[in-house]
Symmetry: C2
């Protein structure tokens, strides 16, 4: 294996400085490890955007709630290294927590309305943890292009806001949800699913596809579009946390104007299959991967 792995901020800074002197464009894919085909698609996209591609692997403690799966979150650096290299990464940054949260750390970055509701409602403090750790990466790597997956759509919107509001010289690229052949969105947490739970989990992407199909058939009433998803979710063994139709830019409510949306709408779902919390979404009329059942 030739892909270098850096663990120290100081070492990383030296390498970044050398790249900058050579005017190498940088693309960064921040991850919590447990890489899968979804992450690899982000890395391949990053390869198109940068001369150097850094994959960060950091299971960020501040974005997990006390009852969440921080301790058991899947970790496997050697497998991650192989998958990252295969997809075109040129450096892996895998720091310990003390590198990212120096002794005495007490600074937090928080976002307002965008971080409320949806996942923010059930995971208090989650987006402050995400905005804080990614701000550190923005500060460390800038100038750079960051590639994030759209599966975590609210997260993507929060991070776009952080980059813009804090004037970071970074560009943010959202990458469409990557799915398994049967439609299940790629997620590091899929490994938790039993065969039965996995079958139930398919109800999520099927629900999104059902609403997508209704939209493509011309349906524009928010309630009717939601009902299409709810019907499918209800026929699967899932504990639904939320199903919401929102404005895809602002995450504000989807408001029908003359029965035609003036802006892009997104359907977002969070549900548990067994004890595994899964999220997924689709932008109506803009998701070639989910054209309906």
């Amino acid at each position: 294996m030739s892909l270098p792995v850096f663990a120290l901020v100081e070492d990383l800074r030296a390498e970044l400085a050398a790249w900058r002197r050579q005017e190498r464009r940088l693309a960064v894919v921040p991850t919590m490890g447990a890489l899968h085909a979804g992450h690899q698609a982000l890395v391949r996209r990053a390869r198109e955007l940068g001369d150097e591609v850094v994959v960060t692997i950091f299971v960020n403690p501040t974005q997990f709630g006390p009852s969440e799966d921080f301790a058991k979150y899947p970790r496997n650096l050697e497998a991650d290294r192989r998958l990252a290299e295969e997809a075109g990464a040129t450096l892996l940054f895998a720091p310990e927590a003390r590198e990212i949260y120096p002794a005495g750390d007490q600074t937090r970055v928080s976002v307002g309305a965008l971080a409320e509701g949806l996942c923010g409602a059930s995971r208090p403090g989650h987006f402050t943890g995400v905005a804080t750790v990614v701000s550190k990466f923005f500060a460390l790597f800038a100038p750079a292009t960051f590639v994030f997956g759209q599966k975590d759509y609210q997260q993507l919107k929060v991070l776009e806001r952080v980059a813009q509001d804090l004037l970071f010289p970074v560009t943010i690229e959202g990458h469409p949800v990557v799915r398994e052949a049967d439609g299940l969105a790629q997620s590091s947490r899929n490994v938790y699913l039993s065969a039965r739970e996995r079958t139930a989990a398919l109800g999520i992407s099927k629900a999104l596809a059902s609403t997508q199909a209704a939209f493509l058939a011309g349906e524009r009433a928010p309630e009717t579009l939601l009902e299409a998803a709810l019907r499918v979710l209800g026929s699967h063994e899932l504990a639904v946390e939320y199903v919401e139709l929102r404005d895809a830019d602002t995450l504000g409510p989807a408001v029908a104007s003359k029965n035609e949306p003036s802006k892009k709408w997104i359907l977002l779902v969070a549900a548990r299959s067994g004890s595994t919390r899964l999220i997924d979404n689709t932008i109506l009329g803009h998701d070639p991967a989910l054209r309906g059942p």
Copy 2:
């Protein structure tokens, strides 16, 4: 006048990029304008640290409370331009609020324990406003050296923490308090003082000098050192908000060990003369400007 004034982030970024290509070292002095001899000392220090020196002039709305002096804070761009150029600035950045807080802005940077107590107690949200706006400047100007005055000592500590915690590639330099001939700390708010209020305000630096003299005479008991300051403050027409002896590094309590401080101690005062709130401080045994009366 030849000192260029930039108002737009976009224009500034282009200039900064050009400087970086020429490997010009950058030093930045963030101010709220109303420049005085204290700011000029910061700019002269910045001149020693950078090939280019940017003075930012931005009266930051988010660091003022609703009953504070945001609207009446002194503003005079032409005078500032003259004073900044005289001291060696090479660019003035004087943006409108919408440049620094883009439409929809909702990101805030907050600091924990360091921002509590002292000025944080009477100015809720103040340090979040300061940490937020300076984070934007860190993101915009990095890599750079930032020069801040030690008169706002708690602010300096908060900003050192932000820079370290968020991994900004910036260096922070604290500059000793600059005083008028009679000891009054230079402040943009001094212009508010009537002659009588100004005489009363001198009680603050005299109080610091009294404690400094006691310390230099060998006194090490925190209560006795505090009493020296309180005695002087009490004999002046001032509304004292706080007088505190703290550890100069952590801002934690000053604890005497074997009657000898193991670390640097700082005496900090906030008081109103008339309706003008003034702050000042001295590091005991490390302040040549305040050796006692």
